[in-house]
Symmetry: C2
Subunit: 358 residues, 2 copies
């Protein structure tokens, strides 16, 4: 094939001509089909392909085979370390299997998510993995499902790394045990009033973790005080704002657990900016154990989640499904508490409860 640039780009046909065989034969050796090919012929084909630096056109192959060797990851934001680590895990496993990885940032925007879902369907991607839990909007979910049905109808496969309305993650972890670990740790340190940094209301993960937090507290005969839960939106900025709110409310707890690390990190930062010291004045524990936890000051005590592994395992089940095996039952990867320096015993004689706002 000669093209505009004046450079030759070879096709199956060129290889066939050079090797003096049919395109069928070339296809058979180059796509390692099970069809028999004489050793000598195979040699010649390989040699010809090598000589031409032939690379099969995946569009053509995809069209013919209905498979594209492509996986897509949907994340809220790839700059969030939670997602970049998961995505990296997926990419590692994809690479190991000859797949290529698409990354789609949805910014939790329903329209953006839908846009990508249509696009991915159009591209015939083999697998779509949802790194995050879903949005809680009922109608949106229905539309998402409609797209997914069509993706699966064309042989695509979808895998989830977080629970979605009712459905479990294919590969996930337990928010319940994670938050129980966090609460246990704080109780053991002597804390009796524990607050929570809530995530964005429209995410299933937020609801999930809030409920898990309540259960964790209930396990110790305590309940989560409304005044002690402050919105932090899963972000650093949200966490910082939460610190202000927390102090304005008179520090209604001696310890606080964040619905995720970003919120916790921002919260610690906000607290310090306000002159409080962590953990002396208030202990803080995060959730997820994203990389920055080790580098902030003080290093954050948090619930460790095997994020990279989540991605690897997630893609692995996708590949199983593509191979035609039945969907394995959901697995839950172990989480554990990583104690660092943001938690400690409450200050002796610390005033507990609301001391009045302002």
């Amino acid at each position: 094939v000669r093209n505009g640039a004046g450079t030759d780009v070879s096709s199956l046909e060129d290889v066939a001509a050079l090797a003096k065989v049919s395109t069928a034969t070339v296809s058979r050796v180059l796509s390692d089909s099970s069809h028999p090919v004489a050793a000598g012929t195979r040699e010649r084909v390989l040699a010809a392909a090598g000589a031409l630096d032939f690379e099969p056109n995946m569009l053509a192959r995809g069209l013919a085979r209905n498979r594209t060797q492509t996986v897509a990851v949907l994340v809220h934001d790839m700059m969030d370390e939670y997602f970049s680590e998961i995505a990296r895990g997926i990419e590692d496993e994809a690479y190991a299997n000859g797949y290529v990885t698409l990354i789609c940032n949805t910014d939790r925007d329903p329209a953006k998510e839908l846009h990508y879902l249509r696009k991915l369907r159009a591209m015939q991607v083999d697998v779509i993995v949802f790194a995050a839990g879903g949005l809680r909007d009922k109608q949106h979910r229905a539309e998402v499902d409609r797209q997914l049905v069509r993706v699966e109808a064309t042989g695509g496969v979808v895998v989830r790394l977080a629970p979605h309305d009712g459905g479990l993650a294919d590969v996930g972890f337990s928010n319940t045990v994670g938050l129980r670990l966090a609460v246990d740790h704080l109780i053991e340190l002597g804390h009796r009033s524990i607050g929570f940094l809530a995530g964005p209301a429209h995410l299933t993960t937020s609801a999930d973790r809030l409920a898990a937090m309540r259960r964790g507290l209930k396990g110790h005969g305590t309940v989560l005080q409304d005044a002690a839960v402050v919105d932090a939106g899963f972000s650093r900025e949200g966490g910082e704002a939460a610190a202000v709110a927390f102090v304005e409310r008179g520090c209604p707890a001696t310890a606080v657990v964040g619905a995720n690390d970003q919120a916790a990190i921002g919260f610690v930062r906000g607290l310090r900016a306000l002159g409080l010291v962590v953990p002396t004045d208030v202990s803080v524990v995060g959730f997820d154990d994203i990389t920055p936890c080790r580098y902030v000051e003080p290093p954050l005590t948090t619930v460790h989640v095997p994020l990279h592994d989540l991605g690897v395992r997630g893609l692995r089940v996708a590949l199983e499904l593509l191979a035609g095996r039945p969907r394995p039952r959901p697995v839950s990867l172990p989480v554990e508490l990583t104690v660092r320096a943001s938690t400690g015993p409450p200050r002796p004689g610390a005033t507990v409860g609301i001391r009045g706002a302002g």
Copy 2:
């Protein structure tokens, strides 16, 4: 088209049948070609497409049009905040233009880079953007070029966001002015012995920044002492190790500039672990201004590089090239010094120079 799952997935032909027009007409309205179509016909086609929730098969379209609406980003590691921010910029602009983004982690491994280049060629991606500078291995570069020639021969476009052997970045920034800014700042604070945390030897960026550092110092009539440059490998771990080496050498400088932020952040952490205080004992400045700089302790003084914008602008030139316009001349985005808390005047009477190893 009826398939295994028993679900209908519609094709152009189905839409044509439903709208009672030819596939050509459907194609014309759905791919907004310039070819005229009567308003009424267009309506019917649109209605039919809508009714079937039709989404064109991009493989088929790509095969026919020789364009895939796909861009690929090559990064060393998407978990490195430097790359995730650039990649996010690219994805934003790609999304805005209806393109989809592939992410390829090379881990600076020549084999991996080549693997992806072949794969991307096979997939007929429209654009390949190199987020990082190249590897310095001559033979590897030759092979890379061979692949790129073929990519371009098929209408693909390649854009670089960092200089490569001899070639300028299409969209880049000046390491020279960045490092001059860093040095000027330290000199102004009173430092006279300034060290450097060098990047991995096999990267062009490392050599580039080291040379820029030398120029910066020379501008003040100083030279970079060999004993004051320590390898930090562009990573946090490397930076931490560098701190140990630095102290073992007797702290041969009162201030150190990192070839990148990761190294600088690790270095600060290492110093602190060794009981030194930053900036009192030694000032540290980074390069790039990745997000974590704001969150470490002390917040890092660094050379700000508009990373997200680099990605956006980079993709923009790629799109121009795809549109057939000539390659614009290289642009250099402005960098500036962001002073935070990791730099200060040298301790009065600080011993300057090598005090003996160990």
